[in-house]
Amino acid sequence: MPPKTRLATRPASAVPAAALATLLATLLALAALILGPSAARADEATLRPLVAALGTATGFDALEQAIGALAATGDPLAAPILEALSAGDLQIRKADKQVVLVRKDGATTIAIDPLTGAALGELGRRDAEKIRVNNRIRNAIQAANAALTLRSPDAAVRAAAAAEMFRASDPSMAAPLAAAMADERDPAVKAVLEEAWSAAILKSDAPEAEKLAAIAVLEARGDRDAMGILAGVAASGTGAVPEAAAAAAASIDSALAVWGAAQNVWYGLSLGSVLLLAAIGLAITFGVMGVINMAHGEMVMLGAYTTFVVQEIIRTSAPELFDMSLAIALPLAFLFAGGVGVVIERTIIRWLYGRPLETLLATWGLSLIIQQAIRTIFGANNREVGNPSWMSGSFELGQLSITYGRLWIVVFALVVFAALMLAMRFTPFGLQMRAVTQNRRMASVMGIRTPWVDAMTFGLGSGIAGIAGVALSQIDNVSPNLGQSYIIDSFMVVVFGGVGNLWGTLVGAFTLGVVNKFLEPYAGAVLGKIFVLVFIILFIQKRPRGLFALKGRAVEA
């Protein structure tokens, strides 16, 4: 009894001829694409009876054999035909019992020759009958297709197919994989094929020597998938093979633990560099000047919004400069945030020197005003800041996955830190700043304009917060609350590292970053953060002036 076809199409007469013509043209173009020049093509004459056999096969066993015969030709044309079969698009035209490919386009159904791609005319609702498939057939088609794609002329397609087979690790694929491996010329693809073959061979009943070789291959691969397969083999029984697999799995496991730790260190360094960027400006104003600037986070936020504005202008007026947007935003953010800092110092903070608690309250008030001002101008929602092309993407280092954005931020934080250290050490301004910090009255007597140094120092701290904002705009949401989320962490870094010591800030930032990331897998992100906060609270009890406390007279200066 023939199965009922379910072609939900209207009669062909309803379709205008013009539309049909365009459609045919498109299909012909498509077919030409499919049939483009390719290697290792079997003769059409050889293929045609094999395709016809798909239609004449009775019962699923026969169909599976027909599929195997078609796949065995290794012809690239076979793959789309088998896929169509799996999707139910390969049908038998009732009129001449020919196997055709059907394509639906809107209301029309068209029969196509599966080999040449030539259109064979329209099909009515009941003109064709599906070749029935079940899940077993679909699996067979998938396996056959994978074997076919192993011969694809495109190396990337071959590698992807091999990787797919590695995941499936079907023992029946061992033979086609071995054959493909022998023919493979590309060493990278060959390596993947070898791994897939090893995975397949371990599931099969191949001789012990082959299995041991396969275990060695998987051990060399050394990732979590390989370990899973090896662990499965190790649990399968006793003997030389399971023992070797267990040993290999254990060695991968310990290697993976090292990689995991390395990954955590990397994440920690990445977080630490963000903390360093946010805290370093604070270390100047808090550490060097003794001023508590609760509006520091808002300076970071202003830097991020400067980036946003720069990108908006570039988008509308000079899109080709987009990759340069961060380089343009950096000096602008520094100048803008630094300028705001100087204004704040001259109008408010200078009246409050020597009264740190009042400074804290006044700058908190300022932070509220700046936040609300940004909210009024730009709205409360997150703003989209794009990543330039050189900031996106990632690369693999062993089992580590490192994104370029994070890498650049680590580099950037270190560069900013080094530049600041050099400026403090070797520029006249740095000299004056250190002089004022160490002995204000003496510096003043020597002719240093201390109020000017104060203003510039505060401006410098704020400006660095601004360029931190440029970096943070790449990895965090740019919203009016951006600064709030960093202010407490930044204070923790400065207090932990030791006030008045930039090296302390560096060590403090990276320590807290790494500790935080190591705690996360065990305690979860939130609990890990709570632990860090409690740790710092306890640490302050032990060393009230931080990790690298200033000693001697400098403390009282």
Binding site: M289, G290, I292, I348, R350, W351, L352, Y353, G354, R355, P356, L357, E358, T359, L360, L361, A362, W364, G365, L366, S367, L368, I369, Q371, Q372, A373, R375, T376, V436, T437, R440, R441, S444, T450, D454, I488, F491, M492, V495, V526, L527, K529, I530, L533, V534, I536, I537, L538, I540, Q541, K542, P544, A557
Partner: protein
């Protein structure tokens, strides 16, 4: 002279009397006066005033440590919220089977999270006396442990401020977690009864207002007693010259620990009074911004006075109510401006301003002198923690 007397030390007793009168008259005006009468006070206003008074009590507790002992806490909101949570737990248990899931024991959020049974720390909270102990003990214990560590190792000034802020931030993160068993993000809400009275009814609202006014009056009297005692004098000495007080032979950390714990308990009680009036407690009460806002109430009113924080809390919150209703965009500008303005121009707050004006007048008349000079001296002494560049010049 009248203003001076009102805002001076004698003013506390006047304020206490006003609070006692309000505790009687406001409920009367709400319940006995017919609606539409000029003397009628709406239930929502009673609730609002009650909230202000709870805030005033929080401000008073901040002032006790900041104004009298020089400890600027940026984490008093944590004690306030802990007291509030203890009260909220009692109120949650009072809901009983009337919750959405009608579970007689488990609060709704626990049913929602598939908790099989009540966690141990929720036991007993169906009894008010257990909750009452928790309201006092939990903030008190936290403050005691925290203060014991902090004062013993002489963490002072801005360092202390920053770690108190870290403390409340850590608690904020902790209470956001569902695993904590305090309702996570949503906190505790949908209360029905308190002591068997419907929490929404006008009578209960008036009762809660009266209770808050009485508690605030009591807190004022306690603070007055503490600050006027010998211990209070030592506290002021610690504020003005901590090292010198220590060298004279006082165990500075003991005094600090006492006043710090007392202040935390007061803040906890304030929180417990606050929660039934607003009908919700959630982790945002722990946010550092709330604690800093409480500090500004004290600064506006005048720290180092007992009457100042009450005035400041009521004024600033009345302003907040007005602004968030009429000009929501500008509230943060106003609040931020207030922070800057008060620190720059009103270092002693409203009460300090009135007092120094009155002082100047009486100075001309041959009365007490040097009020302003004393103010400046104490301000300078407070600064002793970090570098004071400008002052040294």
């Amino acid at each position: 002279m009248i203003t001076r007397r009102l805002l001076g030390d004698g003013g506390i007793l006047v304020l206490v009397a006003v609070l006692l009168a309000a505790a009687v008259l406001v409920p009367l005006a709400n319940l006995a006066m017919p609606e539409g009468s000029a003397l009628h006070i709406g239930t929502s206003s009673v609730q609002l005033f009650g909230k202000y008074l709870a805030y005033a009590m929080l401000a008073l507790s901040v002032d006790l440590v900041w104004g009298y002992c020089g400890i600027l806490s940026l984490g008093h909101g944590a004690f306030f919220a802990l007291g509030g949570y203890a009260m909220g737990m009692y109120l949650m248990r009072q809901i009983g089977a009337r919750g959405v899931y009608a579970n007689p024991v488990l609060p709704d959020f626990m049913v929602f999270l598939n908790w099989p049974e009540l966690p141990w720390y929720w036991y007993g909270f169906d009894q008010f006396w257990v909750a009452a102990i928790a309201i006092v003990a939990v903030p008190g214990l936290l403050a005691f442990v925290f203060g014991w560590f902090a004062f013993r190792s002489r963490v002072t000034g801005v360092y202390l401020s920053i770690i108190t802020q870290a403390m409340t931030f850590a608690l904020l993160l902790a209470f956001f977690r569902n695993d904590m068993g305090f309702g996570g993000n949503n906190g505790l809400t949908d209360f029905k009864d308190i002591w068997g009275f419907n929490i929404q009814s006008a009578e209960t609202r008036s009762g809660l207002f009266a209770a808050t006014a009485l508690m605030l009056a009591g807190a004022l009297l306690v603070c007055r007693f503490v600050t006027r005692s010998k211990l209070g004098k030592v506290l002021v000495a610690i504020r003005d010259a901590e090292s010198r007080t220590r060298f004279i032979g006082y165990r500075v950390e003991h005094y600090k620990l006492f006043v710090w714990t007392l202040s935390a308990v007061m803040a906890g009680i304030a929180g417990a009074l606050y929660v039934p009036q607003v009908g919700i407690i959630n982790p945002s009460e722990f946010s550092p911004a709330n604690s800093i806002e409480a500090v500004i109430w004290v600064a506006v009113g005048g720290r180092g006075t007992l009457i100042g924080p009450v005035i400041g809390a009521v004024l600033v919150n009345a302003g907040k109510t007005y602004f968030t209703g009429a000009l929501p965009e500008y509230w943060l500008f106003a609040l931020g401006g207030l922070f800057v303005f008060v620190t720059l121009f009103l270092p002693k707050g409203i009460v300090g301003l009135v007092r120094s004006r009155a002082g100047r007048k009486s100075e001309v008349a041959g009365g007490i002198a040097g009020g302003v000079a004393a103010d400046e001296a104490s301000a300078a002494a407070e600064a002793g923690v970090a570098a004071k560049p400008q002052a040294a010049e």
